[in-house]
Structure formats: C-alpha cells, structure tokens
C-alpha cells in the first residue's frame, strides 16, 4: 500500500502526523490526535484488502476508563484443565459454547459480569436482519443470511420468542424508489428471498401511519425480531444443560504463550489450562488477542442508543419501519454500516427507536446522553410524527465491537495455533450467531482432532431448552390450571408487565445461578414496564433474598457491589 499518499491525505484533512508500519497481517498506526472521531476516520483510511488495521493513535489528554473487573477473587479455577475455554458471555460466546456442547468435551465459558448478555448483546434492538444492506463478499453477509434462515428453528429449540415480521424501508422520493431496484437485484443475488418494492398504495395499506409521506418502500419479509438478551441467556442455559461449565464474575487477566500456543490463562479465580481458546470478548477482543501476543486487529467502540416506548404509545407504526435514504443522504445506502435505525416492534410488543452510532474512546461507556437521545428521537419522529417525548419510558446504550474493516473476524489465528478469534461482532451479530457459532465449533473440533484429541459427539446433547412459563400468555383455562397447581403463579408482583411470583422464582432457579434484580428483569421482564420497577423492585429484592438465603442488603442490582441497599436501618453509624 502506498502509505505516503494516505499520510498526505491525513495531514491535509486532520493536520496531524501519524506513524505507520505493516507486517503480513496488519497495518499499525501510531501517534497522537486530539479528536477521537478523527482517530477513527484515520484508521478507516488505512483499510486495505487482505489486511487489518491496528490503530494505536492516542487521544491526547484522554485517560482510558479502567476496565470494569469482578470484585471476586478465589481459586475456584486454579489448576483446572479444559479442552476449550470460551472467553465472553455475549451472544457469540454463548452460542459457540452451546454448539460446542454437541461434542463430548470439557468446556469452560467465562464471563466477567454477573450475568451473560451484559455487553452489546443485551443492549441492541434485537432485529434479525434480512441482510439487504450488506455488500458482497463479507462474513456479515455470509453468516447474516445463513443465520436469518436458521432463526425459526433455533428459537423453537431454545424456547425463545421470535417473530418474522418483515421490515419496510420507506422512501420519500420516486428517484430513490427507482434506485432501490438495484437493492432488489442484489438481494436476489445474495439469496435473500421475497424482497420487493412497494408503491405508495401498497405501503399505505401495509402501514397506514406512514401514508402521508411515503411514496414507496422496500419490503424485506425475512426480517424478524428476537429478544437478544433472552436468546443469549437461552444459548447459555442450553450449553450448561448439555454439560459445559459457565463461570460468571470471571475475567481473563493474562495469558502465557509457549511454542506458539496459549498455555496458561490467568483469571481472578485462578490460572487454568485449555487446549483451545475461543476469543468472544466483544469490545475487548483485541485486548484478549494482545494477551496472547496476537493483536492484529483493533476494536473501535461504537455506541448506539435505543429508546423504548410505552407499549400503549399511540400513533406508532405497528410494523418495523426505517427511513430509507433521502435524496440528501443517498450515498449512505449500501455502505455496510448502520442504516440509521428505525422503529422496531419488539417481540414483547414494545416499540424501540434507534439506534444511532457514535464513536467513543471508552469500551464500556454505555452511558446515555441528551444528544444521542435527541438525535434518535428527532430522526425517528420522521416516520412517526405523532411521537411524544412522554411515550419514552426508558433508554439505553450498547457499545458495538467494530473493527476498522467493519466486518466480522472469525478465524483461527495464523500465529497462535490454539486461539480462535470471534471478533468484530457487531450488527448483524445477533442475526449471524446461529450460523457462525456452528462454524466456530467445527473449527475448534477440527483443531482439537488435529492435535490428537478424540472428539466425539455428546450422546447426552439435548437441543431443547425448556421454554419458561409466561402466565399471561396462557389461555384462561391453562392459566387457571397453572395457578391451581402452583398458587405462586397467581400472585402478581410486577403489575406493569403482569409477572407473577411463580415466574420470578422460576427465573431465580436458572442454570447459571444468576440472582440479581437485573437478572430477573432480563429473564421475565419484571421492572421493564412503565413504572420501571418503582413498585416491584422492593418486592423482587425480598424474593431474591428469600430464595437465595441471603440478607436483603446483599441483594445486587447487577454486578457485585451494586447492592440495592447499603445497610439495614439503625445501622448507618455502625
């Protein structure tokens, strides 16, 4: 690559001097710049076919947030020996662990938080993408399309709700509608079925709430929606049911490499050995690679904020709607990065607006800010003009783990023989996970076989994860029968979402052993409604304390140290 030319462009555009060197796998950037967005932009300028960008340009004056690490330290894993270590309990790690559990292997999944799905997997809109906006020859397309097709079966096996609801991309000009024909042709070529262009009348019939401004739409029938955290939890639970060991509150802090292989892995719970290591560490995937001396790509965190609407909000489109390119923004379409979000009807019949995309220097900066809120709200108000600020009951941010190549990086390392990277998993990561997890499991099995491990099928493997009971989805007769069998299902604890004591107790008996307020919330939605836990949080605190046999003051909202209360009353001075 002719770096001089690019370096000149960098000087011209940003007025900074950066250093550049390359090896067979990567282009390495160094230097300093006072603007994070510029640093990311510079990184992208060095993207070239067949190589990865490792961007070490520092943000001047910025002190990186220390990584959030578990408070727990013990020796639970000290000296243990595993066939496979999966690092990270997001959708990637949990799906990979579940696919690996088809084999008779000793598998350990570690997650540094107190629950799975705590990163981007728990904070995205849950759209199962059709893949209409993806470019040729990328892993996102390969696994996105394949994963989408698997969704019905996977969710049935794992007992998770999934709805193939379709998606409408709205056009406000005839020219754009005409140009969309190329998108349809591309979709056909990529094997995405049923994509078609709707005229003004057809879109108005499909979604009357956009009739005033839509001159047409692109309809992708294979788009669906899923609860991304419930799917991640289900994958993890099924993996545990099939014999893998999941260790929460466990962070990998160091690795030793011997003879081109990861030999020992150090965690806050002891040092262990693994024949094969799968890096599913999300926004920390490049840091984990670095621990093995294998940092040949870098992750630039990109934050997205979603707004959750009251299910009772009026005038919101009942279909998944996103605004297509307008004449002003026409160049954006098909670029492979975010389409700019949309209005999504979730599987739980809430509405989500968003997300936006903001490059942030800190990997765990999931804070929300007014600017993102306003951007998302104003943008989605275009397709939903009657939207009121007061319809928003919650908002959250997740951080996408983007590489500079903006594609998934799923491969066995060419340098560290027993290290498999599952990195750069951003949108459509949820969509793609069912597909790539199978390939990763196969890669691991092949590698283990090649080093003499006798890899056999797990005879006890059961793909079915029992679907949790949801009392208010049952018919009156079924619900009555359930309550007569177990009266706890007749005692409503969360009134907004109509969640019973029975469902909360069921959630607290989860195979991962998660007993937190947010863990209950993610599993059964207690506290996710319009009062946001104002009424049920104290009750859930009490139920957790009773079920877990701990003091009320030991109940956590989420990770260790996030105690609901600091002490008992009358003990403030103690």
């Amino acid at each position: 690559m002719d770096f001089e030319k690019t370096l000149n462009q960098v000087r011209k555009r940003f007025g900074v001097e950066v250093s550049v060197r390359e090896d067979e796998r990567s282009v390495f950037l160094g230097g300093e710049c006072d603007n994070w967005e510029n640093i990311v932009a510079i990184g992208k300028m060095f993207v070239t076919e067949g190589k990865h960008v490792v961007n070490d340009i520092r943000l001047a004056g910025h002190v990186e947030q220390p990584e959030c690490l578990p408070k727990l330290t013990d020796n639970a894993l000290e000296g243990t020996d595993w066939d496979v270590l999966v690092i990270g309990g997001g959708i990637s790690g949990c799906a990979v662990a579940r696919e690996l559990s088809r084999y008779k292997l000793k598998i350990l999944l570690v997650e540094k938080h107190s629950d799975v799905a705590r990163g981007a997997s728990g904070a995205n809109d849950g759209m199962v993408h059709a893949g209409i906006d993806l470019k040729h020859q990328c892993l996102k397309l390969k696994y996105g399309v394949a994963g989408n097709a698997m969704y019905g079966d996977v969710c049935k096996e794992l007992g998770v709700n999934f709805r193939r609801s379709g998606q409408y991309v709205i056009f406000d000009s005839r020219l754009i509608r005409f140009l969309a024909k190329s998108t349809v042709r591309r979709a056909v070529k990529h094997g995405i079925v049923g994509v078609k262009i709707l005229n003004k009348k057809q879109i108005a019939e499909a979604e009357p709430r956009v009739k005033d401004f839509a001159v047409g739409a692109l309809f992708a029938p294979s788009t669906g929606c899923v609860s991304p955290y419930q799917l991640t939890i289900a994958y993890a639970e099924n993996a545990v049911q099939n014999g893998i060991v999941a260790s929460l509150n466990t962070a990998v802090t160091a690795m030793t490499v011997e003879n081109g292989k990861v030999a020992k892995v150090t965690t806050n719970r002891g040092t262990l050995a693994a024949r094969c290591v799968v890096n599913c560490a999300g926004v920390f995937a490049d840091k984990v690679a670095e621990m093995a001396g294998d940092r040949y790509f870098s992750i630039h965190p990109r934050r997205g904020t979603d707004l959750l609407l009251d299910p009772k909000a009026e005038g919101v489109p009942t279909q998944n709607i996103s605004m297509g390119p307008t004449l002003k923004s026409v160049s954006k379409f098909g670029s492979g990065s975010t389409k700019g979000g949309g209005v999504i009807r979730t599987v739980d019949d809430n509405y989500l607006l968003g997300p936006d995309a903001v490059e942030v220097p800190d990997r765990e900066d999931t804070s929300t800010c007014k600017q993102s809120f306003d951007n998302v709200f104003n943008k989605q108000s275009q397709v939903c003009p009657s939207l009121k600020r007061s319809d928003v009951i919650a908002y959250f941010s997740g951080v996408r783990a983007a590489t500079y190549e903006e594609d998934f990086l799923i491969e066995r390392s060419s340098k560290i023989a027993n290290l498999v990277h599952v990195a750069g998993i951003q949108s459509p990561g949820i969509t793609a996970a069912p597909a790539f997890s199978k390939d990763v499991a196969k890669t691991v099995a092949e590698y283990l076989t090649s080093v003499g491990v006798d890899v056999q099928q797990n005879p006890q493997f059961n793909p079915i994860r029992p679907r949790p009971v949801k009392a208010n989805c049952l018919s009156d007769e079924e619900r009555d029968k359930l309550v007569k069998k177990d009266p706890d299902f007749g005692k409503i604890v969360c009134r907004c979402e109509e969640i019973s004591l029975g469902e909360i107790k069921q959630a607290l008996r989860n195979p991962l052993g998660v007993r937190t307020i947010d863990g209950v919330k993610r599993r059964v939605r207690a506290g996710m409604g319009r009062c946001q836990g104002g009424f049920c949080m104290p009750l859930v605190t009490k139920i957790i304390a009773e079920e877990a046999g701990v003091a009320l003051t030991e109940v956590n909202k989420d990770d260790d140290g996030s105690n609901v209360a600091v002490c008992k009353i009358k003990e403030v001075w103690l």
Binding site: I492, G534, P538, D558
Partner: protein, 412 residues
C-alpha cells in the same frame, strides 16, 4: 358471581368507596393487588393523615386501619393478592377477570369503581442521563425499602423534587442517620405543602435548592455522584452551570401520574390535564357505570380528599342510576384543572364538591362559578399555590339554568 359493585384497588379511595357502596345497600367485591389492604398508606409511617377528616394527626397505617375496621363491619367481599387481567362490557354489565392464588376468577357487576391510585414518574421520564448504577430510586420505592424492608438505600442522599414525598423522605433519611445533601427542585417554588417544607426540611436544616435539577448520573456499580445544573424558566438545564455532588443515593420525587390502565382498556375518556378520567359530580366517568376516585382520578395532596372522592363514587355506585344528562364545566382563567369536569343535572345538585388547583403561585384571586351568566359561588383567595389543592362546595340546585357552566379564577 354477580355483584352490584366491584371496587378495584384497596387503598384509601377503594376502602372508602367499598364501605359507602355497601352501606348504600349494594353487594360489593373489593379487589386488592397486594397481600394487605391500605395501598401506599402502609409504608407512610409519618404522621399528618386525617387532619381534615378526623381532626387528628394519624400515621398512614393508622388512617388505613380506621377504614379497614369499618370495612369489617360491612358485607364487602375482599379478595387480596388479586390482579385484574381483563374487563369487558357485556350489554349493561361488566365482566371482570382477575387472577389470585385460587386461579382465574370471573365476576360480573353493574358498576365498577376504579381506585387504582397513581404511579411515580421515573428518571427516564424527566430525561436524566448517564450510567445505570444501583442507588437511584423513586421516592416511593425508597420509602418501601426503608419503612417496609428496613434497609437503607444510601447514606449520603440527594433528593430531586420537593413534592411531599420527597420532603418526607428527606426527613426520614435524616432520622435514620443518613446525610441528606440537599433537596433540588427544578421549579422556582417548592412543590410540597408548606407545612412539609417547615417540618421536614427547615426543622432539620436540610437545604432546598430551587431552579436546579439533576442532569447526569455517575457510578459503575453503585451511584457515586450526580451532576446538578441550573434551569431556565422553561425548566431546561443551562449549559455551563453543571456542578458535581457526591452521593450514594438519588431519590426522585418528580411527580405522580394517575394509573389508568383499566380505564384505557374500558375506553373511558381521560382529561389530559389531570391524566385521570373525566367525571361528573358523582365521580362517574363518561362511560355509564364506571367510576373513578382517589389518586386514579387526579393526584391529591391530602388523603382526606382521596377518601372523600371514594365515598362520593361508592355512594353513587350503590344507587340505581337514572339516565344522566351531562353538562360540561368550563375551567377558565388561571386554573390548572377542575374536578369534576361534568355536571349531571339529573342527579343531586345542592352540595357539589369541586376540587381545583391554581396554575401558578397567585395572590389576591377571585374564584367564581357561574351558570348561564348567573353567579352561583364566589370566593376570594389571598394566596394560592399549585401544590395545595382547594376544595369548594357549590349549590347548583339554585341555578335557573345549567346550560353554560363556567368556573373562573382571576385577579380580584
């Protein structure tokens, strides 16, 4: 089962409604979602309840207990830990389905009294941004943690909102030994009752900061600090005025919203100002046979008035309804809202109880109720504060005509 009246909600409004309906001769079922009657009063262990009604300062549980005892003297059926899942109109009656520990129960009734109370606005409702850490609670949730569960949500507390429950919690935290750093209020005037400003803040030297709000939350696991900003006249934060305050607990007392899920399901028209149902002087909504009372109707500041509206609703629901002739009551001038919003000229007109709030802090005001130009009621107020609800009793029976009814608040 068939009842004349089903009361939904066993807080002060529902208790009063059920008692009065039963005394009026109706067969009554009272459905309560929690394991005990009393509603939010159960956790209000401070005093000051019942000053108007009983001339005594009772605690919340004591106030509730008086009604619970009275209820036991009646034939009201009570179903606890029961949650209404569906309400459907069938001809002239209503079919109510609720779930309780015995299973799913269907009952039929002629009248429904909605006494479902209100819920608190959350941090998300007022646009606070930042981290998602433990230690941020609505005042009601914090009150439950302290008074029911006996645990402290924090030792160094910031309270946002000077509504009564915020002030009460400021005192409660102080009495438990916590350090209340301050009460912050976005409005230029306090939102709570004057007596609570004195008894809860001034008496304990807790600072009240007006025209300031919390704009951001910081903390990884538990809350570490909040960002406070000054606000302009529209209560929008002013950039550049941010200061950081260390604390481990943020209590939000930023307003209450009537709970009207069931009213919505029954397609009962709501008043955008009160966020409760539109009712006539008997607390009957625009849907025949459905009543609304207490905080589900509009947010009250005294429980005494909550009970009163429950009694009005309950008493009327026991009577066999004549067909109504509803006339609109126009609110004019500087009124925030008026309840009732309608007058049924076919029912009793002589002692109509009306509640109103001023839209802002006002002095030397005259309130006038007129019907077709004729003045039926007038009263002069030296001072009016939006946090303090006013109650009047108007005799509409003496009016010559009741076509054009207006209630006006204007400068004297």
């Amino acid at each position: 089962m068939k009842y004349d009246v089903v009361v939904i909600g066993g807080g002060p409004a529902g208790l009063a409604a059920a008692i009065r309906a039963s005394e009026g001769g109706a067969s009554v079922l009272l459905i309560e979602r929690e394991a005990r009657l009393g509603g939010i009063l159960k956790q209000c262990i401070h005093d000051g309840f019942g000053v108007v009604r009983f001339g005594e300062k009772l605690s919340g549980p004591e106030y509730a207990d008086r009604f619970v005892k009275q209820l036991k003297q009646t034939n009201v059926q009570v179903s606890l830990f029961s949650f209404v899942t569906r309400t459907v109109k069938r001809g002239k009656t209503y079919q109510i389905t609720y779930v309780c520990k015995d299973g799913l129960v269907n009952v039929e009734c002629d009248k429904i009294v909605l006494a479902t109370g209100c819920r608190e606005r959350t941090k998300n409702a007022i646009g606070i941004h930042g981290d998602r850490c433990a230690g941020v609670y609505t005042a009601g949730a914090a009150q439950n943690l302290v008074n029911i569960l006996g645990i402290m949500p924090g030792k160094k507390v910031v309270i946002l909102g000077s509504g009564d429950i915020g002030l009460i919690m400021a005192r409660r935290f102080t009495l438990e030994g916590a350090n209340v750093v301050g009460v912050y209020e976005a409005k230029p005037t306090p939102s709570g009752l004057t007596r609570n400003i004195q008894q809860c803040l001034n008496d304990f030297d807790i600072p009240l900061h007006l025209s300031k709000t919390v704009t951001r939350i910081f903390g990884t696991d538990r809350l570490q600090r909040v960002e406070i900003s000054d606000v302009d006249e529209q209560m929008r934060p002013i950039a550049g005025t941010e200061t950081l305050v260390d604390c481990d607990c943020l209590v939000l007392a930023v307003g209450l919203i009537p709970e009207n899920e069931l009213a919505r399901e029954l397609k009962v028209p709501l008043d955008p100002k009160t966020k409760g149902a539109i009712v006539d002087q008997n607390c009957q909504t625009l849907a025949d046979g459905i009543y609304a009372c207490g905080n589900a109707l509009h947010v009250n500041d005294l429980v005494d008035y909550v009970s009163e509206s429950g009694e009005i609703a309950g008493g009327d629901s026991a009577q066999h309804g004549l067909s109504r002739d509803l006339r609109k009551i126009e609110a004019a001038g500087k009124l925030l809202y008026v309840v009732p919003q309608r007058l049924d000229v076919n029912s009793r007109l002589d002692k109509v109880v009306m509640y109103f709030r001023a839209s802002e802090e006002l002095t030397n005001q005259r309130l006038t109720v007129t019907a077709d130009g004729e003045t039926l009621f007038t009263r002069v107020y030296g001072k009016l504060l939006p946090p303090e609800m006013e109650r009047i009793v108007v005799d509409f029976g003496k009016a010559k005509a009741l076509n054009d009814i207006t209630i006006t608040l204007e400068d004297k």
